[in-house]
């Protein structure tokens, strides 16, 4: 069996979970819906001549909607692993799919790598759909009254997509440690919102900007950043990628050593 077969199996397994459909819907429809709300707000603010009341441009309306997409990415990463450890009904002996998975593909690293590839693919597809769609939607709603678009929309869009992918991978790695989706969902969803613990820490120590989420945020946030002295976008992306790689390596080590 080749690695490609394993990826194909994982893609099919993950993509057909109902929870994955919900997560993809959140990743795609969430940002579109929030962009819509934001863009209507921007248009109203521009028409009333008080642009300070809302985000200043259609582009910011899109990028301020990234957190809801992050929620979807977190769920995708969590269910890819968490679904394996959910028990069947007790009638079938409370069996868990992980047993089947590991008897079908005994290579632990192969399974984990295939899961990672699957999650990245799903998030990439979602990002490719949702970011252009949101930009077009916001542009369409705000229309000709929009101020000229700021620089770097393309790189920020790519940055947002990468941020989602890395977040999903971090969620996946943490779920390998916990073997249960509840803790990573609470921690990562809460931390990707306005009540972020990372932002709180950034008031205490400048080192907080090296935390994975704050470092990664600089890839797309532009002026929306909730804290000072952020890293440059590329540096931030590299820092977040390093965190992700480290957590995945640790997750692989745990997954290799543990009995299924």
């Amino acid at each position: 069996m080749t690695f490609f077969d394993t990826v194909a199996a994982e893609t099919r397994k993950t993509a057909t979970l109902p929870a994955t459909a919900v997560a993809l819907a959140v990743t795609v429809l969430g940002p579109v819906a929030i962009t819509l709300i934001n863009a209507v707000g921007v248009r109203a603010a521009l028409r009333s001549g008080r642009p300070e009341l809302a985000y200043t441009s259609p582009v910011e309306a899109v990028f301020s909607a990234v957190p809801i997409g992050t929620v979807g990415a977190v769920v995708l990463g969590v269910v890819a692993v968490g679904g394996e450890y959910t028990a069947n009904s007790a009638r079938i002996g409370g069996g868990r799919q992980i047993t089947t998975t590991l008897t079908a593909t005994p290579s632990r690293l192969g399974v984990l790598a295939a899961k990672a590839v699957t999650v990245v693919l799903l998030v990439a597809v979602a990002a490719l759909v949702v970011i252009p769609a949101s930009l077009a939607l916001a542009g369409g709603i705000v229309g000709t009254e929009a101020p000229p678009a700021p620089e770097g929309v393309l790189s920020r869009s790519v940055g947002a997509g990468i941020y989602w992918m890395l977040t999903a991978l971090i969620a996946l790695a943490i779920t390998v440690f916990t073997r249960n989706g509840i803790v990573p969902i609470i921690v990562l969803v809460v931390n990707s919102t306005l009540v972020s613990v990372s932002v709180l820490l950034s008031h205490l120590t400048p080192l907080a900007r090296f935390l994975p989420d704050l470092a990664g945020t600089s890839m797309f946030a532009g002026d929306l950043l909730a804290f000072d002295d952020a890293l440059a976008p590329v540096t931030g992306g590299l820092v977040m990628a390093t965190w992700t790689a480290g957590l995945l390596a640790l997750a692989s080590a745990v997954f290799l050593r543990r009995d299924a």
């Binding site: 028990a87 007790a90 009638r91 002996g93 409370g94």
Partner: protein, 239 residues
Amino acid sequence: MVLMLSVERLVKRRGSREILTDVTFRATPGRVTGLLGPNGAGKSSTLRILLGLDRADAGTALVDGQPYRRLRQPLRTVGSMLDGSGAHRSRTARNHLTWMARSNGIPVRRVAEVLDQVGLGAAGGTRVGRFSLGMCQRLGLAAALLGEPRALVLDEPVNGLDPEGIRWIRVLLRGHADAGGTVLLSSHLMTEVDEIADDLVVIAHGRVVAAGPIREVTAGYPTLEDAFFALTGATAGGR
């Protein structure tokens, strides 16, 4: 005291498919009634309606003349077991039985008693997620016995039990019926039903194809197995 389980002209639909059609039978005190049928015949659906979990589209299923949902302390009247343990995997067996006892005003000392009775006395503090299939089944039986009920309704009770467990449950159910209790159990295992049941209800494709004392149902066939295939096969062919 008489406790009769009676199912009258039960109909249940899932979407456009009728999974139970005019199912009628009784389980009477002092006797073990076996509900026999192949997988997917409608045994579990019938028991779920009798126990008030699912609603019937037509017909009635009554415990002593009342629907199960009307019972105030149901565990003291009907002990039941569906789907193995029915406990969240992260609880201990003792916690599971304790909350069940609280919900029906059953003295908490019964928890230790039933755990001993089903042979889980040493496993009371173990999380249900660590139980084997057979232990889950024993925990489900402990839950059924908790309220010292007059009637027992058990869905596939011997699933996952070892030979010793199967003999134990046979003796338990026989004793319960001989003491005047009512026992209704479902199974797709003919040898089991043959050895335990006094009365038989054979169900196939959501219809009762035969019912009565086991000798009457199997009359004219060399074994219960022959009777079973003749009765259920005829319905399958006649569809």
